[in-house]
């Protein structure tokens, strides 16, 4: 049993790795060394952050804070893992292969959980554990605190995965329902989005105007501490965990936690019985009648690709909701940011910082949505064979995909600019500057993201798995987007601080030059590499 479980887990882990890169011993050592350095660095930064907070008396570095950070991070972990597990357990394309292997369904189930446990363990190393260590160092706590930290580094991910495994079942039922009746999904998502927007808007209306942080600092600090204490009321059994860290009723609390793990384990075990039944029940085969349509000739290849692409986008409810949310989210987020900042009486430097912040947030949001381009070719999967065998300039497919990404971005940028021009007092020159920078940098990023996929498409992997999880190109695209957002924001701030109108022109020229350079390189790469894609 354990042998099969281990084989299944290893097999899935290997499948997730990039098999083209064989790492030497040296580079493995470097990777480990870099990870250790990174964890040490994060711990150091967090320690510095906590000490700074302590010296500013913004909020107390105490039991409550630790509990607050712990349960918030764990709740987020549970949420993401639940979604990930629901997809991996019930919807993964390799289910059909893995279920044909000589293994029991619960072994497959547990192997999937093991993968997520490993991933949670790894994630914990980058925030939760460094935070605990930094916290312990900051309060100069006893060694026993660090020993509990080491122990819970392994237990916390286990709890997260077990809870997520249980929650993934109702989530799956909801998903199946919403697949059959997409309107349910649309209603749920839009309701949730509306609710979040309403909450955020309500919060912003409570901001005193003009906002003088220094004058209300003590009150603010007190409110913050109260908020943390109140929020801790929702921490459930994480309270017992933190009590263990602080040596409070250790035996009792350890007993409670072990009991909870046991109960969760039993529930998961019960879940395994239903697993096979749910996985093997596929509703995709459900037929729906449709009226007969006429055959239509499209004007040219570009429109043929675009039409097909749009149909696929609009018929995929997930993508559609993403697009709708994104179109609304960016103007709304920037509206909120500017609403908050408008409460603060700012000088010229402050105004420049507001513009910079707007550019940063907009670029961050836009570029993170460009993963669509970073997986444009990959997401064709086996269908790319048709592109390769078609007797036309199929590289137009790339332009049609870019066009769609570009069109969504442009609508969002324009909506944001209109919102900002209506609700803020940002100068029109600065609005134009923002528009040019955001438009050019984002367009360049779309091209860059597409180029990543063009040079290294994962057609076979996608054809086999049917999902884009762990797609390296998408991760790289997000990273490049972040770097570009930081770079252009810093550049904007530096040049705006001087206040010369010539600098605004310079900024615009830099953004335009960047776009043109990227366009040139993209066309060069497209011409050469598209025809060489094989799979």
């Amino acid at each position: 049993m354990f042998n099969r479980l281990s084989i299944l887990t290893k097999m899935q882990l290997n499948n997730m790795k990039n098999k083209t890169q064989v790492k030497s011993k040296g580079s493995k050592l470097v990777s480990v060394l870099l990870e250790i350095l990174a964890v040490a660095f994060i711990t150091l930064v967090l320690n510095y952050f906590l000490n700074t907070i302590k010296s500013f008396h913004l909020f107390e570095i105490d039991f409550n804070l630790l509990l607050f950070v712990l349960f918030i991070t764990q709740y987020i972990g549970i949420l993401t893992t639940t979604f990930g597990l629901a997809k991996s357990l019930y919807e993964s394309n390799d289910n059909s292969i893995i279920f044909s292997l000589p293994a029991r369904s619960w072994e497959i189930y547990l192997s999937r959980l093991a993968i997520f446990y490993r991933s949670e363990l790894h994630k914990g190393l980058y925030f939760v554990i460094p935070f605990f260590v930094a916290f312990g160092l900051s309060l100069k706590l006893q060694m026993v605190f660090f020993i509990w930290t080491a122990l819970f580094a392994f237990l916390l991910p286990l709890i997260t995965v077990l809870i997520s495994a249980i929650l993934s079942l109702p989530l799956m039922i909801y998903k199946r329902l919403s697949k059959r009746f997409p309107i349910i999904k649309l209603i749920v998502v839009l309701t949730l989005a509306g609710l979040i927007m309403w909450i955020l808007y309500t919060i912003t209306t409570h901001i005193p105007k003009p906002l003088n942080i220094l004058a209300i600092y003590d009150k603010f600090s007190e409110s913050l501490n109260n908020f943390i204490a109140t929020a801790d009321g929702y921490s459930l059994f994480y309270l017992n965990i933190v009590k263990i860290f602080f040596n409070q009723e250790v035996l009792k609390n350890v007993g409670i936690i072990l009991g909870i793990i046991l109960v969760l384990g039993l529930l998961v075990a019960a879940n395994t019985f239903a697993y096979y039944g749910i996985v093997s029940n596929n509703i995709d085969q459900t037929n729906k009648g449709r009226r007969k349509t006429a055959n239509k000739v499209t004007k040219n290849t570009f429109w043929a690709f675009t039409k097909k692409e749009l149909k696929l986008q609009f018929r995929n409810s997930d993508q559609m909701i993403n697009h709708v949310l994104f179109l609304v989210a960016m103007p709304f987020v920037l509206f909120l940011v500017n609403e908050i900042l408008a409460a603060i009486s700012t000088n010229i430097l402050g105004d420049n910082i507001v513009v910079t912040l707007d550019i940063f947030i907009a670029l961050l949001m836009l570029t993170s949505s460009n993963t669509m381009s970073a997986s444009a070719i990959t997401s064709e999967g086996s269908e790319f064979g048709l592109i390769k065998t078609a007797p036309s300039d199929t590289s137009k497919m790339c332009w049609s995909k870019i066009f769609i990404n570009f069109a969504f971005s442009l609508v969002s940028i324009v909506a944001t600019m209109i919102t900002l021009s209506l609700i803020t007092e940002i100068k029109s020159l600065h609005l134009w500057l923002m528009f040019v920078i955001i438009f050019c940098v984002n367009s360049a990023h779309i091209l860059w993201s597409f180029q990543l996929d063009l040079l290294n498409p994962k057609l076979n992997e996608y054809a086999a798995s049917g999902n884009l999880n762990n797609n390296k190109n998408m991760k790289t695209s997000i990273l490049i987007g972040l770097i570009l957002a930081v770079l252009f924001s810093v550049l904007t701030l530096i040049l705006l601080i001087n206040g010369s109108p010539a600098n605004i022109t310079k900024l615009m020229l830099v953004a335009i030059a960047f776009l043109l350079a990227k366009l040139y390189l993209f066309v060069l790469n497209l011409k050469v590499y598209f025809s060489h894609i094989e799979f």
Partner: protein, 761 residues
């Protein structure tokens, strides 16, 4: 009098060098090299004392008129460039540099002799003396310099190397200004122009220009030298490294000798180590510079902690040294003087850095007990000022060892953190370098592929002999699928997945392609339809070369893949229309064909439903309709009947037969012998990438040859009677196909392997 002594010195040394070269011949020009080293040593000894004139700003001074000062400053510059060229040039054999040494060197020598007394005055002021240290030193230095330049001139005259004189003159005047820009006495701008009134700091205009300039100069140097000979590139790098070295020590003279001014700061060590690494090809030193000093220089250039007047010798010292230490390792790597770093080299750099770091920790602790120094900023507050939180750590974690009653101070935790931070930065900069290496490789590959593409177009033009490129390259093969000596290698594999495969299929044929899984069927099919590239050989579809005329060839082909992949969210009709759009099918044709085939495959009702609701068979039939929507001349199918029910299978087989009956080619792969036997006119058997044979199914049937046995004869592993029987079937089949008796039998690849293994045992 000074001039006379100088002439005597020149005559003596020139004579010695001439005699050595004439009577003790050496192929390696060893005597020139020895004199070059001597010249280097004498120059270094001279600049150990400060020039008297360097204390002035501008052309006004108490020694010379402004015009004379300007002239002498320029002569000093010329002399330095000539000395630098002679020192480095003696180790290379570059015609233009030889000319510079021979002509510019002697010209400079002549002026130094004529203005010797003024030069001495420039060195030591109005009270100079011929018996003074610098005068004697300079007379000897000029003697050695003159020996080199005169002997270069003699060699030039003797060898009568005057061919392409215009070219030589042209290069002389192109290279000379470059050498001038690369090597300049630090006080030149200060003496010629006085105070500039500007400083380079805090991202002011000059600071920004300098930073842009560094990038531009690096790029220009790379572009200028990337296609030059290795010798020229090595000369340029060594000359610049020497320029940095000279510049650094120009500002370190005996008056400034103190613990503070010891060249122990990171970038100071860089200047020395770059030259040593370049001259002696010491990898450890180079990679130390490459990973460590570059970071130091970037920090120094971006955040200069030193801002004198822009033209001041001390300012020039700061900028010239840092710029050279920054760009030289990068250029040396780009020009291939040193290879790309790997982990071993990084480790080497970390070791040297560790030794340097620990040395500086203890040097700071020791020297600060009696003097004030701050090597690598480990003792002072320069780093703490920039990174605030380190301040507390520095103050709180101090080790105070007492040795012989003296207390030393080591900021141990602060030092460790700085060390770790720097090593982290080294790895980060390695990542940046790696990114640029990838870019370099990528664009080299891109250019190579572009060249291949243009060569293919040229090849096509040549083949077409003036005909339109859209016409078939082989007009006679318009009803044929022709595969000639096709081979395919995947990626970096050492073996061929398909090896030297040749075949011709003609109109009206249903051609079956048999082979077990992994035999190479799909590889060949994917190359025929243009999904995969061709390693060797060619494939013609209706006379069009799939590699050179892919669009035209694909227009005549329809393809059904083995994975029946379709866009699941489209309806069947939308999918077919999408394919029809790609194949430019008219409305009338698509209406007609969709109607015909959907009826034939009983898909009419399902056509307007989303494909995700289709069964496996329905999807396969949909793909078949899409492949036939443009009525292709060649229809290629890869395992089309796998997983289909008998009814669907029958429909597709009927369709294949019907398509061939219209004079078209149907080429399909399968490993189901019964299917092949029933519908094929001819078959080919492939095993381990090699074509085993082509057989006429009708003839085989007529001669009672069992196709299954024939197929097995190529792949079986049996022994004894059974094997003999299979071989006899194979033999008979070949006889039937060739029309005569044959004794040759192809042994199956597996069998051959087994036999080979047995032999080895």
């Amino acid at each position: 009098m000074a001039s006379v002594y100088m002439i005597l010195s020149v005559m003596f040394f020139a004579g010695v060098l001439y005699v050595l070269n004439r009577f003790a011949k050496s192929k390696a020009n060893i005597y020139f090299k020895v004199f070059a080293v001597l010249l280097f040593a004498f120059y270094m000894a001279r600049i150990f004392a400060e020039d008297y004139i360097d204390q002035f700003w501008g052309l006004e001074n108490n020694l010379f008129s402004p015009v004379a000062t300007a002239f002498l400053v320029l002569l000093k510059w010329l002399t330095l460039v000539s000395i630098g060229s002679a020192v480095v040039g003696c180790f290379f054999n570059i015609k233009t540099i030889n000319n510079i040494i021979a002509f510019l060197g002697n010209f400079v020598l002549l002026f130094n002799i004529i203005f010797a007394s003024s030069i001495f005055k420039m060195f030591d002021g109005a009270n100079w003396s011929l018996s003074g240290y610098r005068a004697i030193e300079y007379i000897l230095e000029m003697g050695i310099f003159g020996a080199i330049t005169i002997n270069y001139l003699i060699t030039k005259i003797k060898t009568k190397d005057w061919q392409d004189l215009t070219g030589q003159i042209k290069y002389f005047f192109i290279v000379l200004p470059c050498l001038f820009l690369a090597m300049m006495p630090l006080s030149t701008l200060q003496l010629l122009f006085g105070h500039s009134g500007r400083t380079i700091e805090d991202f002011n205009l000059m600071h920004r220009l300098v930073m842009y300039g560094i990038v531009i100069v690096t790029v220009v140097l790379f572009l200028a030298f990337r296609k030059k000979d290795k010798q020229i590139r090595d000369f340029a790098l060594t000359f610049m490294a020497l320029a940095a070295f000279f510049a650094f020590f120009y500002n370190h003279n005996y008056k400034d000798l103190s613990y503070t001014n010891l060249p122990l700061h990171l970038c100071n060590t860089g200047v020395i180590m770059v030259l040593l690494a370049f001259v002696f090809r010491i990898r450890g030193l180079f990679y130390f510079n490459y990973f460590v000093n570059i970071i130091g220089c970037i920090v120094a250039i971006v955040m200069p902690d030193f801002a004198p007047d822009m033209f001041a010798a001390s300012g020039m010292h700061f900028w010239i040294c840092h710029i050279y230490v920054l760009i030289l390792p990068i250029l040396a790597r780009l020009f291939g003087m040193f290879s790309r770093p790997n982990f071993k080299m990084m480790r080497m750099a970390v070791y040297i850095f560790t030794i340097y770091f620990v040395s500086m920790m203890f040097a700071n602790a020791y020297i600060n007990s009696f003097a004030s120094v701050d090597y690598f900023f480990l003792y002072g507050n320069k780093i703490v000022d920039k990174i605030g939180f380190l301040g507390q750590i520095k103050l709180n974690y101090v080790w105070l060892p007492v040795v012989n009653g003296v207390t030393y101070k080591v900021f141990w935790l602060y030092d460790i953190l700085v060390y770790v931070g720097f090593v982290f930065l080294m790895f980060m900069i390695w990542l940046v370098f790696e990114y640029f290496y990838k870019l370099e490789d990528h664009y080299a590959e891109l250019l190579a592929l572009k060249k291949i593409d243009s060569l293919e177009i040229k090849e096509l033009r040549k083949k077409m002999k003036g005909r339109k490129l859209s016409e078939p390259v082989n007009p006679e093969g318009k009803d044929t699928l022709k595969i000639s000596h096709f081979s395919k290698v995947y990626g970096l594999n050492k073996f061929k997945s398909v090896d030297d495969f040749s075949l011709e299929v003609h109109g009206g044929e249903v051609f079956g392609f048999l082979g077990h899984n992994g035999a190479g069927k799909s590889t060949l099919i994917k190359s025929i339809v243009g999904i995969q590239s061709i390693t060797e050989g060619s494939i013609e579809v209706c006379g069009y070369d799939i590699k050179l005329q892919p669009l035209q060839a694909k227009m005549h082909m329809g393809y059904v893949s083995d994975n029946h992949s379709v866009y699941e969210n489209l309806t069947g009709r939308e999918y077919i229309n999408y394919v029809a759009d790609l194949y430019l099918v008219s409305k009338q044709d698509r209406d007609e064909r969709i109607d015909k085939y959907s009826k034939m495959f009983e898909l009419t009702d399902a056509l307007d439903r989303q494909i995700k609701g289709y069964s496996h068979g329905m999807k396969q039939k949909l793909v078949v309709i899409a492949a036939l929507i443009h009525d292709p001349k060649v229809w290629v199918l890869d395992e089309p009947l796998t997983g289909l029910d008998p009814s669907s299978s029958y429909q597709i087989k009927e369709c294949m037969r019907e398509h061939a009956n219209k004079g078209n080619i149907v080429f399909f792969s399968s490993h189901v012998i019964e299917v092949v036997e029933k519908i094929c006119d001819r078959i080919a058997i492939i095993q381990k990438g090699k074509l085993q044979g082509v057989f006429d199914v009708k003839k085989l049937k007529e001669n009672g040859i069992n196709l299954e046995k024939l197929y097995l004869s190529f792949i079986d592993n049996t022994e004894g009677e059974e094997h003999a029987e299979l071989l006899s079937v194979q033999k008979k089949a070949f006889e039937v196909m060739s029309g005569k008796k044959t004794t040759k039998v192809k042994v199956s690849a597996n069998k051959k392997e087994t036999a080979d293994k047995k032999k080895t045992t």
